[in-house]
Symmetry: C2
């Protein structure tokens, strides 16, 4: 915890919610804390992101942080509390690529059960000219299709989303794509 | 906590994560527990559900639990860990309506930022004949469009999803609908 403007005492380092038990009225085991009684309901996480087209090129960000530091990804990240999916995707484009984007369509909904993620990926374009690396990116760049660094993409779903972007190019109305057949995002 | 087969002592009733502070390396305030030091990263929740068509009728469930006990809803609920969105929607149809369903298309993606929910609602049909009330439903029934109990629907998004179901009836390929203009799901 940082130097604390609220004047809180230092946190005790207990075990936190670390014991598995089924709370009353529940059907699943949850992690509970034996120090404070807190029940930790873990939930899948929502990732929001976008494939941003600039002319015939797409925008990718080289990750400045782990996991997969140095690899290329889409501007994407966890949806925050009290945020719509669309707002979250636009925020991530700003945070990671200093890009103001306009969303065009929902490109894909991917489920990655191994890591309990649902990813909502939008098709987007720049709403204002310009972009640059945000704090979580080493570099942001535009790529022609043939120049995409396929072997240096950070995650399988980046690969999927680029393929689905290409596949739906020029389509006005389409059903969002899901995981490619047999693909679960596990590596 | 129920009579406990693991032989755990009774949980202490502390305050749990109840103090707001910004953890090191983080940018947002989180709830932390002063008893055990646990940092509670809260995330938006994913609701998965379906509009199940049976001939020209749609399936609704009358809620046996709060919130909105006694009101009609779609078979829907929170996605669980390590579950795909599609699997979650099928599980909820089984749990709430004892219905085995097949998903046909992603009907809608609703964001309800006030309660930090993203809802993924599918268009579905019965994969096997038959349905009945599961433990969280008082009753499950099929409704002709004109017989839908509009003023006794549990949540605004049930209303939206039924409208979007009607609107996309007969469409093979369509973009999933979002919140109706200006609607945030607040009541």
């Amino acid at each position: 915890m940082s130097a604390d403007p609220t004047g809180l005492p230092p946190l005790r380092q207990g075990k936190g919610p670390s014991v598995r038990a089924v709370p009353d009225g529940d059907t699943h085991e949850r992690l509970v804390c034996m120090d404070c009684g807190f029940i930790h309901y873990e939930n899948p996480k929502i990732v929001v992101g976008s494939v941003v087209a600039v002319g015939d090129q797409v925008m990718l960000c080289r990750r400045a942080i782990n996991p997969r530091k140095g690899f290329w990804t889409l501007p994407a990240g966890y949806l925050e509390l009290n945020e719509s999916a669309a707002d979250g995707a636009m925020r991530e484009a700003w945070e990671e690529a200093r890009a103001r984007i306009a969303l065009d369509a929902l490109l894909a909904v991917y489920s990655i059960p191994r890591i309990s993620q649902v990813q909502l990926i939008f098709r987007a374009r720049l709403a204002e000219p310009g972009f640059s690396a945000g704090p979580e990116s080493e570099e942001v760049a535009l790529f022609d299709w043939d120049a995409i660094p396929w072997s240096d993409l950070a995650f399988p779903s980046v690969h999927w989303a680029l393929g689905h972007f290409r596949e739906t190019r020029g389509l006005e109305t389409f059903a969002p794509r899901g995981n490619p057949p047999g693909e679960t995002g596990g590596r």
